[in-house]
């Protein structure tokens, strides 16, 4: 169980890293910078504080954060071998919890 959980966490860290690249490397660094200095968490803490990561993205991109989060979740699901089915109202945390549950089984 713990080994699987850490697998999801690692996959999420990678998915975040790759997903944020849509902003370019400097854009990604700015997001990590804000996470560190405004919310006191590093990129490796995103799996344990996804709600803070969500808030950070929304503070920068407004509702545009959804697009980045969707890219991250799609990437995460691909890494975990899960099928991504889009819901009408995309919610980053819900998708993440679903991935955790599915990988924990």
């Amino acid at each position: 169980m713990n080994r699987e959980k850490s697998l999801v966490e690692r996959a999420l860290i990678e998915a975040v890293d790759e997903g944020l690249l849509m902003l370019g490397e400097s854009g990604r660094e700015v997001v990590y910078f804000r996470l560190r200095f405004s919310y006191a968490i590093g990129k490796e803490d995103v799996p344990s504080h996804p709600e803070i990561f969500d808030e950070c993205l929304r503070s920068i991109f407004g509702s545009g954060a959804k697009a980045i989060e969707k890219a991250i979740i799609k990437n995460l699901y691909k890494k975990l071998g899960l099928k991504f089915v889009e819901k009408e109202n995309f919610d980053f945390l819900e998708y993440l919890n679903y991935a955790k549950r599915q990988s924990g089984n």
Binding site: G24, V30, F61, G62, S63, A65, A67, F90
Partner: protein, 251 residues
Amino acid sequence: MQKVYVLSALVIIGLALFYIFQGCYPDLMYLFSNAFPPLISGMAVIVSGLSLERYWRKAKGPFSKTWLYFTAGLFFWFLGEAVWAGYTLILGVEVPYPSIADIFWLAGYIPFFVALYLYVKIFGGALTRKTLVASMMATIVMTVIVTVVLLAPLLTAGEDPVTLVADFAYPLFDLALFSVAHLGLIIFWKGKLAKSWLFINAAIAMDTCADIIFSYATAQNAYYCGHMLELLYHFSYLFFMLAFYLHTKEL
């Protein structure tokens, strides 16, 4: 960042005062009216180029491509301004419209539109179908209004077909930019990037108003170098610079 706003406000006030009191220095005004646009548009290219350098990761990345197109669009507009200045200050043509300068100006709309489209497309998933439909309706209504407002005065002015096409092309191309730019503002409204998108929209709005007035004024032979409408063009470049500067500060 406050310093940038104060500096911009001072530039706006300074330009407005300079245009208001132009009767006191008509020769200087003529020179300024033609020499200042290449300067301010060149500065906009530099600011956009610095943003491009910052965001450049690789040519195929959508975000870096966006800034390449923004810079290309502004560079074409700079060429348009430079050619206009060449006509007026070197060749002595009073109002070179339409001219080769218009080819550069109109060409600049293409990369600029692509830039806005690519940027908004990256985050487009955040827009609801309802928002997109409302936005499309608003764009159609605005296009109809602008066309109707310009139609009678331009058609009765007896201009040649090329001038007529240019008269309509500028405001309609502006509206095409606006139709995408306002979506960016909607997407980023609650985020830190909203300020940057607010200035992009303000710049395009200024351009739209300026182009409508320019088309009308030239058709009525009422345009001259130093016309107050030029302020809108200057403010537009200033707002683009502010938008790109703020973007690099926030992201």
